[in-house]
Amino acid sequence: DQQVKQNSPSLSVQEGRISILNCDYTNSMFDYFLWYKKYPAEGPTFLISISSIKDKNEDGRFTVFLNKSAKHLSLHIVPSQPGDSAVYFCAAYDNDMRFGAGTRLTVKP
């Protein structure tokens, strides 16, 4: 029973272009959403978050959009850089943190 789903296991983008990572969830009780970034052999590190009362949160090159009616959120990275290459986990919180399976982003120079 995966309440948080990332349907794209991988994404490849050219440097300078936009990266869009998607995430869907099923539990309408989630009230806080996060994106974590993970490099190989390291633990996930917090990237950006959004509360369910908002539909957009921006931090530098990273913007998270939340569409509650569609139970969908996305992470936009503009412009993408080679250092952004990592696995990105979507997470949703309602007393417990639930993670998606991750999307591997590769940004090509």
């Binding site: 390291e42 917090f46 978050s49 696995v87 943190m97 993670f99 998606g100």
Partner: protein, 113 residues
């Protein structure tokens, strides 16, 4: 100065053995967690613990037990290891009032032969 650390980083052991993974956080957080990243790369909560309450994910076998000698440590003990226990285990911590702000350790890759 690592915020959340785990030891060992890699652990290879035989079926049936008992092993422990240690976790330490120097963030002053009140709540610590253990997650298992399964073969499909999902991160699943196993335990959350603060000095008042241990919450166990009901799907976790009772061969797994967390032990907290103090607020900064939450160790994971696994008895009678099975092949299916092979995974990467992540420790995390958060302030008690903000469980959604979790900081993760680097992970321990457990391989059961």
């Amino acid at each position: 100065d690592t915020a959340v650390s785990q030891t060992p980083k890699y652990l290879v052991t035989q079926m049936g053995n008992d092993k422990s993974i240690k976790c330490e956080q120097n963030l002053g957080h009140d709540t610590m967690y253990w997650y298992k990243q399964d073969s499909k790369k999902f991160l699943k909560i196993m335990f959350s613990y603060n000095n008042k309450e241990l919450i166990i994910n009901e799907t976790v076998p009772n061969r797994f037990s967390p032990k907290s000698p103090d607020k900064a440590h939450l160790n994971l003990h696994i008895n009678s290891l099975e092949l299916g226990d092979s995974a990467v285990y992540f420790c995390a911590s958060s302030p008690a009032s903000r469980g959604n702000e979790q900081f993760f350790g680097p992970g321990t890759r457990l391989t059961v032969l």
